[in-house]
């Protein structure tokens, strides 16, 4: 029955770590009393977490995110809309893997169709738009599908959008990695946060966010708070999902402009 624990946690982590707007992925956000909307593009907040030690390790690897511990269960975070994970590009970010299975015939056909319809295939916006439109059945029911399964089913949530976008980028020799974390989204009159997945693409000696799931979002501003890269792209990808789920905030409070 011990393996059942893993199965249950794995099933739930894929909802809580990697959804666009499912209620299961929502993270409570509380604005500072004096804060009004719209937000500026630099914000500060208190992040409440079960695993502050883990999130501290993560925030030390982020670009344009400053963090320090407030208590056993919380951190102060300052960030802006250009925040992303640090780290150098390596061969892994261009390779075929179990999750980003570039060698699969369905993926090859998907890439060929993209190239036929896109005269400027290397533009990030074209990649994310194509993936966003290709997945014609957005749904939260899937646990975590690998890229070829996404091509076949044309359905999924942000993890499916992310693995397919990563597959498309890598097929075009653009290094890409799938990031799990959370987003803080300012929409008309409200601020929401939820677990999310997106892609970072390497170019001009830095990583750029490419978010196919939120390509058509009405959000006024999106702040990306990365937890980690999916570092296990083999059949044991569940380990990465669970690691990321452990790093998710419980709550974001005292959110204000910097």
């Amino acid at each position: 029955m011990r393996s059942l624990f893993f199965l249950v946690a794995m099933s739930i982590s894929s909802f809580s770590a990697a959804q666009m707007t499912s209620s299961l992925a929502e993270i409570e956000v509380e604005l500072n009393k004096s804060q009004s909307l719209p937000l500026s593009n630099q914000i500060a907040f208190e992040l409440v977490s079960h695993n502050v030690g883990g999130t501290e390790k993560t925030t030390s690897k982020e670009v344009n995110i400053r963090a320090y511990r407030l208590s056993e269960g919380s951190q102060a975070i300052n960030m802006d809309t250009s925040s992303h994970l640090s780290g150098k590009v390596n061969d892994r970010h261009s390779s075929s893997s179990f999750v980003i299975d570039l060698d699969d015939e369905d993926i090859k056909n998907f890439v060929a169709e993209f190239l036929q319809s896109n005269p400027q295939p290397r533009r990030i916006e074209n990649l994310t738009k194509y993936v966003n439109e290709y997945i014609d059945n957005p749904t939260y029911i899937h646990g975590f599908n690998i890229a070829s399964t996404v091509v076949e089913k044309r359905s999924g949530d942000c993890t499916e959008y992310a693995v397919l976008a990563a597959a498309l980028a890598r097929s075009l020799d653009i290094p890409a990695r799938v990031i799990l974390g959370s987003v803080i989204m300012e929409e008309q009159g409200q601020v929401r946060s939820f677990g999310h997945a997106w892609v970072e693409i390497w170019g001009d000696e830095r990583w750029h966010i490419a978010d196919a799931a939120l390509y058509n979002s009405d959000a006024i501003q999106i702040f990306y708070l990365p937890s980690m890269e999916i570092n296990n792209e083999g059949p044991g990808y569940s380990m990465s999902l669970l690691q990321a789920a452990k790093l998710l905030p419980i709550k974001i409070r005292h959110l204000r402009d910097l």
Partner: protein, 411 residues
């Protein structure tokens, strides 16, 4: 059916768990008065009938007037009259995906049939409730759906209740397309399931059933059964079924089955397992020792998996993990470490499991570390879990024991 002018689009998933085993996902008070009244109506199921099913040695009196309306190889279908406008429909299958996937499929198929029968299009459907519970030693799943057919003035709405359980190497599902009568529906289902349980052959010396909740909302169950063969090896069968309402209209469905053999010392002999997710085989694996190496074969999302594990030492079985837990509880040691093959984590490698006592607490309060998974457990002295909890961000998963027969570790 009656027209229902609801602000469907504003229905929010709220878990209002007023009982442990079921959660209404919408607030009844948001509905018009006539619907609220209809939802709480009930009927006493007075009539009984004889249910005969030779394949399962069933010849029992059950609640409701059962009438066989169709059968074929491994499939039986009944209409059950309880005095409501629409009869309850009950099914028995010997070939099926699992309690979660099959219940969902039957509900979708029923909705399509209802639309066809009424010559209207299914225009909306919403998750109304999800639940789990136990009848005797048998766990069950519940899912209720609120739906509308047609548009404008010809729009009609109704309520489809569904329950499923596995007994006797078969699956039983009942549905009822009528607003209200929730207790009457459950009464018939319970009686139906009891007829199967009564005639179930049982060679297991240990059985346990767990209920799983997500932030207090019941989402599924796990069940394990242990039996012993003439050589003293232990056959372990585990099943789990989950229905997770991921938004207002969809359920994620998952059924997993595992069959393993263990030696009495707790070492794994071999194992086979599969998972069905959202109506499709998601993974299937076997593991066995050959030529001094652990060989894993199977598939994950349609891709073949064939590998030799780097770990060549004995692996601990599920039975063995109970043995380790029981030994730790009895000993002065503060922790115990061992290796298991947990395909759900990574089918291509083993995972180190660490069980630790919590200082200052009872020896039965343990922390269970399995790679990135950390779970706090309260166990019985037999090693069987009483309750456990996993926290992931704002989500808490609780696993609570609902039924135990015997003890897992042989004397």
């Amino acid at each position: 059916m009656k027209s229902l002018n609801l602000f469907f689009s504003t229905i929010i998933l709220i878990s209002t768990c007023n009982q442990v085993s079921a959660a209404d996902l919408v607030n009844l008070e948001d509905f018009p008065g006539w619907f609220q009244d209809a939802m709480v109506r009930e009927i006493k199921v007075r009539k009984k009938s004889k249910l005969k099913l030779k394949k399962f040695n069933i010849n029992e009196k059950v609640k409701g007037k059962f009438k066989l309306i169709g059968s074929s190889d491994g499939y039986w279908s009944y209409h059950v009259n309880i005095g409501t406008k629409t009869p309850i429909e009950c099914y028995v299958f010997t070939k099926y995906d699992g309690a979660a996937n099959s219940l969902h499929s039957i509900v979708q198929s029923d909705l399509a049939s209802i639309a066809e029968r009424n010559k209207k299009t299914l225009t909306s459907k919403f998750n109304y409730a999800v639940g789990t519970g136990i009848i005797g030693n048998t766990p069950y799943l519940a899912m209720d759906t609120l739906y509308s057919l047609g548009e404008g003035e010809s729009k009609v709405s109704s309520f489809l209740k569904g329950l499923s359980a596995e007994t006797n190497e078969s699956l039983q599902i009942c549905t009822h397309d009528e607003i209200g009568y929730r207790n009457a529906f459950f009464t018939v289902f319970k009686s139906f399931i009891k007829a199967f349980i009564k005639n179930e052959e049982s060679s297991e010396y240990f059985e346990s059933v767990f209920q799983m909740t997500l932030n207090g909302m019941p989402i599924g169950y796990g069940r394990e059964k242990y039996s012993v063969d003439e050589d003293g090896d232990i056959a372990i069968k585990t099943e789990s079924s989950m229905l997770v309402p991921v938004d207002a209209t969809s359920f994620s469905r998952s059924d997993a089955v595992s069959s393993s053999w263990s030696r009495k010392d707790g070492s794994l002999i071999n194992s086979a397992k599969y998972t069905v997710e959202n109506g499709a085989l998601s993974s299937s694996y076997t593991i066995q020792m050959q030529g001094g190496k652990w060989q894993v074969e199977g598939e994950l999302q349609g891709k073949p998996i064939k590998t030799e594990l780097a770990h060549t030492e004995p692996l601990i079985s599920e039975y063995g993990s109970y043995l380790k837990t029981k030994d730790l509880i009895k000993s002065e040691s503060m922790s115990s470490e061992f290796y298991m093959w947990v395909a759900e984590a990574d089918p291509t490698s083993t995972i180190e499991v660490k069980l630790s006592k919590v200082s200052g607490k009872s020896e039965k309060d343990l922390i269970f570390n399995m790679g990135p998974l950390i779970m706090s457990l309260e166990t019985q002295s037999s090693g069987v879990l009483k309750q456990g909890s996993i926290e992931q961000g704002s989500v808490t998963i609780d696993i609570v024991s609902r039924y135990v027969k015997g003890e897992p570790v042989l004397k």
